[in-house]
Amino acid sequence: MEAQLLEFIRDEFLDDPETEIDADTKLISGGFIDSFSLVSLQSYIEREFGKRIPAPRITAESFDTIKQMVQIIQQF
């Protein structure tokens, strides 16, 4: 799941393919993803993993790293 999210985020959000990110990179507070783009992440998770994460659980704090995302996805 981590690898899949990493690939999606790299493809969907990063303009520079050489940007180094991993599961611990702070994506929102680090400026790689605009918090407003979380909606596309939410629909990707629903599409790919069949999990509907309620919007209040997806915040700039709770979804800052891929590790955090995986933890939340696994709760559903």
């Binding site: 969907e12 303009d15 680090g30 400026g31 790689f32 407003f36 909606v39 596309s40």
Partner: protein
């Protein structure tokens, strides 16, 4: 007293954090009319200095143009200072209807509605016109006012990579089952100065039956052969469903804005847009003076032609000197330094050489994309631009920046 010591401490802490992270915005105090040269007091308390202004949106030099000032005086004499009413009670005057009709004719649209600012216009449009069955697909670099406007809407949202038409197509395919699809973009992007690919956007919109919204605040008055905006440049006049723009930049620079577009959409905004219904009618001086500005623009393209020539010269001068300049065809010319600290030092060095330009860094622009944004005005003389160029080169030589790559600039030890 409701503002307790505990609360005071809380807000002081927030301010301290902003200061410590280097994001506290210190305003430069100007003691002058807006123009190519301005008397600036900075930091507050210091002596005033006359600087070449390379950071205003006064693209056509109309902010302090004698004919514009005269028109504003006449408007004050004829219609007074304020209207003390919203439009639908007793704030609609013939001058508002005239300006709306003039703007529709200028932009090549069916109807126009005025707002107190373009921020208000963008805050109103998506909430009023879209419901849950709609999807807003926006360019990732749209202006903050559009982002706030989209947040207010019940419609769903998705975004595409900046000006990436392949990505936009993917998003349109993904959301093709939605009742209403609207593609949202700036005409000229304010931080990068590049122009949206409106011809391709319109083509995609036709293919997927989507609406197109363009914020042309950094284009109206000077982009395109007769200054109608980015839709004129891209040859898609009449094909943009909604255009928002401001009178606070090239069109005299006071304040006020509008949404212009399809009759039914504008009419619905007039009925339901909250920033329109619940804020004052545009002041008479701004309303009548904006009509005068349109007269000036329609009588001659001299100012926009001069701006175009100067912007081309300035862009070329910086590129040839070895700076990394974002490619584009607008008078917004960002000089990429990538390194946030370097942009702050560079802006201070410019100030010391009597050139006024500001550094932009995260969170205003993405991480590692720090830049000095320069803006050319028709009011600049060739001498102004030559002096500014010399200052840029002198500073770059002092810090050995010319010809350096992005990685080298980011790794500079300062």
């Amino acid at each position: 007293m409701a503002f307790s010591e505990k609360l005071r401490a809380r807000y002081q802490d927030i301010l301290k954090q902003i200061l410590q992270s280097g994001l506290y915005k210190q305003e430069r105090i100007i003691h002058d009319k807006q123009g190519a040269k301005v008397a600036v007091e900075y930091p507050p308390g210091n002596a005033q200095q006359e600087l070449i202004n390379m950071c205003s949106n006064n693209y056509l030099g109309l902010s302090s143009h004698p004919e514009v000032i005269k028109a504003a005086h006449e408007a004050l004499d004829h219609r007074g200072y304020g209207l003390s009413s919203v439009r639908f009670i007793c704030g609609t005057q013939d001058i508002h209807k005239e300006l709306e009709a003039r703007l529709s004719a200028f932009l090549g649209t069916q109807d126009t509605i005025l707002f107190s600012s373009c921020f208000d216009a963008n805050a109103a449009v998506f909430e009023t016109l879209l419901d849950e069955s709609a999807i807003m697909i926006s360019d990732r670099l749209v202006h903050a006012s559009i982002i706030d406007g989209m947040r207010l809407s019940r419609a769903q949202h998705d975004s595409y990579k900046h000006s990436d038409m392949k990505h936009l197509r993917q998003k349109l395919e993904l959301h093709q089952d939605k009742d209403i699809k609207i593609i949202i973009t700036d005409g000229v992007f304010s931080m990068d100065g590049d122009i949206a690919h409106l011809a391709e956007i319109v083509q995609l919109a036709e293919e997927f039956e989507a609406l197109v919204f363009v914020d042309d605040s950094h284009a109206t008055g000077f982009i395109g052969k007769t200054g109608r905006g980015s839709h004129e440049l891209c040859q898609v006049m009449g094909k943009i469903d909604l255009i928002s723009t401001t009178f606070g930049k090239a069109l005299g620079g006071a304040s006020g804005g509008c949404i212009s577009g399809r009759t039914e959409l504008i009419d619905l905004l007039r009925q339901r847009a909250r920033p329109y219904l619940f804020s004052n009618a545009l002041a008479p001086a701004i309303t009548m003076t904006t009509c005068k500005v349109l007269d000036i623009l329609q009588a001659s393209t001299k100012a926009r032609d001069s701006l175009e020539r100067k912007a081309i010269w300035w862009r070329k001068a910086l590129s040839e000197a070895g700076f990394i300049v974002v490619p584009g065809a607008s008078p917004i010319v960002p000089v990429m330094l990538y390194n946030a600290k370097l942009t702050q030092i560079f802006a201070d060095e410019l100030y010391a050489r009597k050139v006024f330009a500001v550094g932009f860094f995260f969170p205003v622009v993405p991480q590692a994309q720090a830049r000095i944004r320069t803006q050319v005005s028709a009011a600049h003389t060739e001498e102004d631009l030559r002096v500014a160029r010399a200052a840029f080169i002198e500073i770059a030589q002092k810090y050995d920046l010319l010809g350096k790559t992005k990685a080298e600039l980011l790794n500079l030890q300062l």
